[in-house]
Symmetry: C2
Subunit: 301 residues, 2 copies
DNA sequence: TTGTAAGCGTTATCAT
DNA sequence: ATGATAACGCTTACAA
């Protein structure tokens, strides 16, 4: 031990991993780091892993399924002991691949009732449906939706589905509400907002797939001389910092991102140590009413 | 090759690393992921590494020097071929440790003139000095500073130093300007702002160490019934999304974060392939004038 | 060009 | 307990 100290000996990780066939590393593949929600969740994920002596290996897929598949194989080849994935939208081949190699996984950011694989998240559909019901209860009848591309993205799809569900229950024809799909960015939110307001009967309330899109819409509204929420209501989703800082501050859905990251890590730690999971639990979201939602000025029956 | 396909063979990373004594992995240690500037830079860093067939291993130090040292040793033990570090504030023992193991490193987010180790960044001091000169040229004589803790953080220290430098050059006593140190968060920015405005002669302009602090101050100003920039000017630093979304939008210093991440990766790629570096280059920042800076209402000689 | 064998630095197994 | 030794799955140098 004295010699260890003196020579500054450090065990060789690769040799250790090769011999023990485990690495003490868990992988995380997220769509992009450049989004506060994933960054925040990952930070918490890593903190929790660290407390268990594990290290995190991250990769981002840029929202490309093929790239994600490649990253998964890459991380598995690097010997990750477990894997965190975002959402559940991916081919069975990937799930099979992971299962044959018996790599424990957890999917996060999206809770599926009765899912067969471990997941930690929230009910995107229900959260959006609740928000939409609140909007409708204020008297809005003409809604518009700005969403991320729904292909390969269950969160985006579920959110739109939830909104449409509430709309339908209110007796409004679903195909009546215009849906625009754009990639997440402030500029795209602004563009989509402008397009929506150009319709023959512009929406009195616009539901956005996340806060980034919503603040983009908000900025464009001001630029177009529209007052929010007097002339038009706008809602977000996620409740990141942007939402409380915008003007007016954004009415949105709060998602416990840090809590989700921690929980994802805890599940994985149980899985790698062979513990049984006590079933999947959904995290709670809640509507944060701030300043961008009000009843329509021109109430119509 | 047909067999490879059929059996789904994947080379074993650990064995490969052990035999070749290189891993194709580079490490990055950042203070926190939960900050748009690092997250954005890392995303670009990873994209560039990916194009060279390298993978990124991240760890975050939570701004703790001891934790950072531990993370460095951990990543080195894991066999990273190179390392990206933020800023230059750390003990010589760490630099020696890295040098004896001949692990190439690059320090980012902070450019030091004549630095002996490869670095990519910008001149925090000069950028802040320029911004401060601009503020002073508008007629402000009572400034206040909200900074991150300067210990172990050269970026924060240099920014304050730059502001003080400009103040001194304008013939104002440096010890005249109050400096508050708080951890980066919106809430802390708000608190610090309130404290600053409680002084006998409150500042007419407040320079914040970054945008997060600045939007916190901005929100508090509104809450206190102060109009920005009429009653008080506020400036940020970084130019993240928050800055363009706040109201009024923030006057701040734009830092090319993505470009910095890419460049850091490029430098490391050169280093691992044994290429010579053509000296360190500084990235340019620029002042973005938006809506939170104006001359003081009560001009005084 | 193709094949063979000796490491790489651990862990784990089996004698002693 | 302690110590020797065979994997682990690759790279690489050297022979054939």
């Amino acid at each position: 031990m004295a010699a260890v100290d003196q020579l500054g000996y450090q065990p060789n990780f690769s040799a250790k991993a090769l011999a023990a066939s485990k690495t003490g590393t868990v992988g995380a593949i997220i769509p992009t780091m450049d989004n506060a929600i994933f960054a925040r969740g990952l930070q918490a994920f890593q903190e929790e892993l660290g407390e268990h002596g594990y290290t995190m290996l991250v990769a981002s897929s840029s929202y490309h399924p093929a790239l994600e598949a490649q990253q998964i194989r890459n991380l598995v080849a690097r010997g990750v002991d477990a894997l965190m994935l975002i959402g559940t939208d991916r081919g069975d081949d990937i799930y099979n691949y992971l299962e044959t190699r018996s790599i424990p996984i957890v999917t996060a950011w999206s809770f599926q009732d009765g899912a067969t694989i471990p997941c930690i998240g929230f009910d995107n559909r229900d959260a959006m449906a609740q928000l939409t019901r609140r909007v409708l209860s204020l008297g809005h009848r003409h809604l518009g939706i700005i969403s991320a591309p729904r292909a390969h993205n269950d969160r985006a799809r579920e959110r739109v589905e939830g909104a449409l569900e509430a709309v339908g229950q209110a007796g409004i024809a679903r195909d009546t509400v215009p849906i625009l799909e754009v990639n997440y960015s402030i500029a795209n939110g602004a563009r989509a907002f402008a397009a929506l307001m150009r319709e023959p009967t512009p929406p009195t309330a616009i539901l956005c797939g996340n806060d980034v899109l919503a603040v983009g819409a908000l900025g464009k509204a001001r630029q177009m001389g529209l007052s929010v929420p007097k002339d038009v209501s706008i809602t977000g989703f996620d409740d990141i910092e942007l939402a409380e800082v915008s003007y007016p501050p954004l009415t949105t859905v709060h998602v416990p991102h840090r809590q989700m990251g921690r929980a994802a890590a805890q599940i994985l730690m149980k899985l790698v140590s062979g513990e049984e999971l006590s079933g999947n639990a959904a995290l709670k979201t809640r509507i944060i009413e701030r300043g961008t939602l009000a009843g329509p000025t021109d109430l119509q029956a």
